[in-house]
């Protein structure tokens, strides 16, 4: 039997082994006795002699156990029991340590699980490593009115697919859209992937029910109008009814037959975006469209992503080189496109698109580093606490060493204790992490597509957390254990803890100062963000978002011509105004503060194009009631009227800034502004506000009646609630459905949500950094408590002498507090300096809050110093209440 095999057997069959050893020894003794008796020794005497010669059988067994590893296991169990008893005796220490570790471990676990969800998990498709995204890299300097990143019109996708048949076995294409689908009587916005018919085949995904799209050449008409739905939609809307196959679904007013249900784990090819349905692009462009489709067809948009499955044996490098040549020599009809292509790049298909990968990697790496830092601080703390505790246990260890315990044995015992602490810490960390996951969905900003990140404790994350806990246990426990067991037996027994090196406390001082400084930085940052958030919410926006619900209504992809669309919106507004729960209703082209950029150059009076003086005039295209509904007061003249329609003379209302810039010191009423070749008469001046973003400079702005500039059929509808705004969305849905059940109410929500979205960076900054700051502060408090406790522990004897010699207890407390105050002062000063630097770096997020905002800095510093002093006071009190007789007797 091999050595390992024997050890294993020993561990697995411990009783059998004991039994074997017993048997062997008993046999030996019996033989010995028999042989003595044979030589004529009296049996009783023979027995005595044999046992005397043999020695204690138990000792031999011990050796056997040592060698077989059973001893090790027994020790471990005993150490664990001993450690748990010890921890129960000092619940405060155990609780603090476990909490510290839990905070550190949960920080890393949460960040790592996000990394896991975003980067480590593969798409649930067949052989994802053979799937590559094909992206064109365009030459610079080509004059272009197109988007900066290439998109792939249908014909171009087909050209690419055909030309690269030797490289890819399949080339598929997809883009993401929002589709209004009629469900339960209302049209609802669903996240839809518009895909080429071979999309599922290329990915190697199989349907949970029914079938996917039949392969069709989408350029020729006649592909059947079909749709595939997600398993979740099937469950949620259709109660997992198997008869769903063959049913009709109305998406953007088109009747589609549901042919299949996608498998539950597959929601598309973008991490975090949960597709509800898949629509075939070819069908959308051909037969199935209703007569009179509007000019702009959303589903006719070019694809944004083309990807292919490499043929066996083709390497990505070879494919990329070949593709570039293909892209530059497309058929003559596509010569213009060919000329633009510098190269064609292949990126592995993953849930994280290559273009986002870089910035998200940096973001996650920063978070990971911060979390790791928090964990390290936690470990330093735990090590510090163990170190401090070790000084109190010097006597115990010296005693045990003197009684023959080996140093390795003591070290192992202490490490067992730390690993148990870390195990408990990891358990706490996982609970904390779960709480964070539960709170996460609330942090996703409102966007039209269905977004959810599948962040969870999967086996990878749990393995990571366990590994972290074990490594933490060893890291935090090793130094204190070695230090604690390196006692000089004699001086240890005499009770002078000065055997410890002074270096230990020096290192710990540095740690505590660094921890305090870091907490100050984080708390200052959180404070600044909170102030900015507060300031942002109080900015005078020029409108009152309270109780206003906003939603988008889009007729572009439905069958409305101009006249019908005008009537539709007019009726919709009239119906909304008639509802008892709605006080005012209106519409506009842009939602305020949505970073829209529409505007034109307007020449000052007497100036002319192209060189004359001009200003940029932003404008909103709105309904006559808009300014009233938004509670934006008029300063001069009149507001827009319902009679300012397409038949009436063109008018507009400008704001104070525009009036001041164009006609300083004059009344603008009755003046004319030329916008888009139309001379418009200024009929009123409205009070200034914020239009595009919260932190914009005073902006020249105008409001144009939408009936006079009706060049879109996609508007934001506003409704101000009379009382409770929660019923308004339902009212809007009902009125919209009554007009046309196929039109969806897109992204309904409070207008203040727009502000929330705009302030998202500040809010996230305040929350995340605030949490890290609080964790850091807590750790720093534990750290300073530990350092001062250690300090007090070392000087206990001295304090006893001082007391015996007549020192006052108050004096002793002051002595210890003074030492703590020194550390706190340095830490806070360093932290405040770093915080100033950080504040200047993050100025652009602060909305005019000073980077040296005194309230934040003074507040954080004072608060932190105060709680840190309390943490110092606890051990200080211990120093003062020491019994002089006891501490002197320790000598």
């Amino acid at each position: 039997m091999t050595r390992i095999g024997r050890r294993w057997r020993a561990l697995a069959h411990r009783d059998a082994l004991e039994h074997d050893v017993d048997d062997e020894m008993r046999f030996h003794l019996e033989q010995e006795i028999a042989s003595l008796v044979a030589r004529g020794v009296d049996p009783t005497e023979a027995r005595r002699q044999a046992y005397a010669a043999f020695g204690r059988p138990e000792a031999h067994k011990e050796t056997a156990r040592d060698l077989t590893g059973v001893r090790w296991l027994e020790d471990l169990a005993r150490d664990a029991r001993y450690a748990i008893q010890g921890l129960k005796r000092r619940p405060g220490f155990a609780f603090t340590t476990v909490l510290t570790l839990a905070l550190g471990i949960s920080a890393t676990t949460v960040v790592f699980s996000a990394v896991d969800a975003l980067f480590l998990r593969r798409l649930p498709v067949q052989a994802p490593d053979r799937l590559f995204v094909i992206s064109e890299q365009w030459k610079n300097g080509v004059p272009s009115t197109d988007a900066a990143t290439p998109v792939y019109p249908y014909q171009h996708y087909m050209d690419l697919a055909e030309a690269s048949q030797s490289i890819f076995s399949d080339v598929a294409a997809t883009s993401l859209t929002v589709s209004s689908v009629r469900l339960n009587g209302y049209a609802t916005d669903l996240t839809a992937w518009v895909v080429s018919s071979n999309y599922f085949n290329t990915l190697g995904v199989h349907p949970a029910l029914g079938r996917f799209f039949a392969h069709a050449d989408e350029r020729t008409a006649g592909a059947p109008p079909e749709a595939v739905i997600s398993e979740e939609l099937w469950q949620r809307q259709f109660n997992s009814d198997p008869a769903i196959i063959g049913r009709t679904l109305f998406a953007d007013s088109r009747a589609l037959t549901i042919v299949g249900v996608a498998p539950p784990e597959f929601r598309g090819t973008l991490e975090g975006v949960l597709g509800d349905l898949w629509l075939p692009a070819g069908v959308m462009r051909n037969g199935a469209s209703a007569p009179g489709d509007s000019a702009r067809q959303r589903l006719d948009d070019p694809f944004v992503m083309v990807f292919g499955r490499l043929r066996p044996g083709v390497t990505p490098q070879r494919a990329q080189a070949a593709l570039t040549a293909i892209g530059q020599h497309l058929p003559p009809a596509a010569a213009q496109r060919s000329a633009r292509i510098r190269s064609i790049q292949l990126d592995p298909l993953s849930g994280m698109p290559a273009m986002m990968r870089g910035s998200i990697t940096i973001f996650m790496a920063t978070l990971m580093a911060t979390a790791a830092f928090v964990l390290l601080i936690a470990l330093a703390n735990v090590a510090g606490m163990l170190l401090a505790r070790g000084t109190y246990r010097t006597r115990e260890f010296a005693m045990r060493l003197a009684l023959g315990a080996s140093r390795g044995r003591l070290t192992r015992q202490l490490l067992t204790e730390t690993v148990i602490l870390c195990g408990l810490g990891a358990a706490g960390g996982i609970l904390l992490a779960r709480a964070v996951f539960a709170a996460m969905p609330g942090m996703i900003p409102p966007v039209p597509v269905h977004v959810a990140f599948d962040i969870r404790l999967d086996p990878v994350v749990l393995a990571f957390t366990t590994a972290i806990a074990v490594v933490s246990g060893v890291l935090a426990g090793l130094t204190p254990a070695l230090n604690a067991t390196r006692v000089d037996v004699l001086s240890g027994l005499r009770g002078s803890p000065q055997g410890q090196s002074g270096k230990v406390s020096g290192t710990r001082d540095v740690f505590v100062v660094a921890q305090l400084a870091l907490s100050v930085v984080l708390l200052v940052a959180a404070g600044l963000f909170t102030r900015a958030l507060d300031r942002g919410l109080r900015v005078n926006t020029g409108f009152d978002a309270h109780a206003v619900v906003a939603a988008r209504v889009d007729l572009e992809s439905h069958t409305y011509d101009d006249a019908h669309a005008r009537a539709f919106f007019a009726q919709l507004l009239a119906r909304l105004r008639a509802r008892p729960e709605i006080a005012d209703a209106s519409l506009g082209w842009w939602t305020p503060l949505s970073n829209n950029n529409n505007g034109e150059r307007v020449y000052l009076p007497g100036e002319q194009a192209p060189d004359g003086k001009s200003i940029g005039l932003g404008y909103g295209v709105v309904d006559a009631d808009y300014l009233h509904m938004m509670r934006t007061p008029m300063v001069l003249g009149r507001g827009l009227l319902a009679t300012d329609d397409q038949g009436a003379p063109p008018v507009l209302v400008i704001n104070q800034t525009a009036a001041h810039k164009l006609w300083p010191g004059e009344s603008p009423i009755g003046q004319f502004i030329k916008l888009g070749n139309v001379e418009r008469e200024v009929v009123g001046v409205a009070r200034d506000g914020k239009y595009r973003s919260l932190d914009e400079e005073p902006t020249a702005y105008a409001f144009i009646p939408y009936l006079q500039r009706f060049n879109t059929r996609h508007y934001t509808i506003y409704a101000r609630a009379r009382g409770d705004s929660s019923t308004v969305v339902l009212a809007m849905r009902q009125e919209l459905a009554a007009l046309d059940p196929n039109v969806a109410l897109e992204a309904p929500g409070p207008l203040s949500g727009q502000l929330a979205f705009y302030l998202f960076p500040q809010q996230m900054g305040a929350i995340v950094i605030g949490i890290f700051g609080c964790v850091g502060l807590l750790l720093a408090l534990v750290g300073i408590y530990g350092v001062i406790s250690y300090h007090v522990g070392q000087r206990l004897r001295e304090f006893g002498i001082r007391l015996a010699l007549g020192a006052g207890r108050g004096g002793l407390i002051a002595l210890v507090l003074g030492r703590g105050a020194k550390l706190i002062g340095v830490g806070v000063a360093v932290g405040a300096a770093l915080g100033l630097m950080l504040g200047f770096a993050a100025r652009s997020f602060l909305y005019g809050v000073d980077a040296y905002d005194p309230l934040t800095f003074v507040g954080v510093s004072v608060a932190l110093a105060a709680v840190a002093l309390v943490a110092t006071y606890l051990p200080a009190r211990r120093a003062a209440t020491v019994d002089p007789m006891y501490s002197l007797r320790m000598e």
Partner: protein, 110 residues
């Protein structure tokens, strides 16, 4: 009746155990008897150190053990040399020769 007996030199027990097993497997008691016999009743194995030594040698892979039944029907544990043990016996024997030769020389020269 007490016979004059010499204590074993430290470290020689391993060598003697390996030597007694060179002729075939034995159980613990018979190893100690055999050492006594071969040394003409001069060397007696301190029985308290025999079993720890056996376990140690087994752990090093020089001995292998197996259970057998004695003629009287008792379950007994037999120890035998492994190939590694044979090599170790050769090495230790050689070392002992050099050692005892050197010690003899010193004693004679003095």
């Amino acid at each position: 009746m007490r016979e004059p007996k010499a204590d074993l030199l430290q470290g020689t027990l391993d060598l003697l155990i390996l030597r007694t097993l060179a002729t075939g497997p034995r159980h613990g008691w018979s190893i100690s008897k055999r050492i006594l016999e071969l040394s003409r009743d001069v060397l007696t194995v301190n029985q308290g150190s025999l079993y720890p030594a056996l376990y140690r040698l087994e752990d090093r892979g020089w001995l292998a053990s197996d259970w057998d039944t004695s003629p009287e029907g008792r379950r007994i544990k037999l120890y035998g040399l492994t190939p590694l043990g044979k090599k170790q016996l050769a090495t230790e024997t050689e070392q002992w020769r050099i050692f005892s030769f050197a010690v003899n020389h010193i004693l004679q020269g003095a």
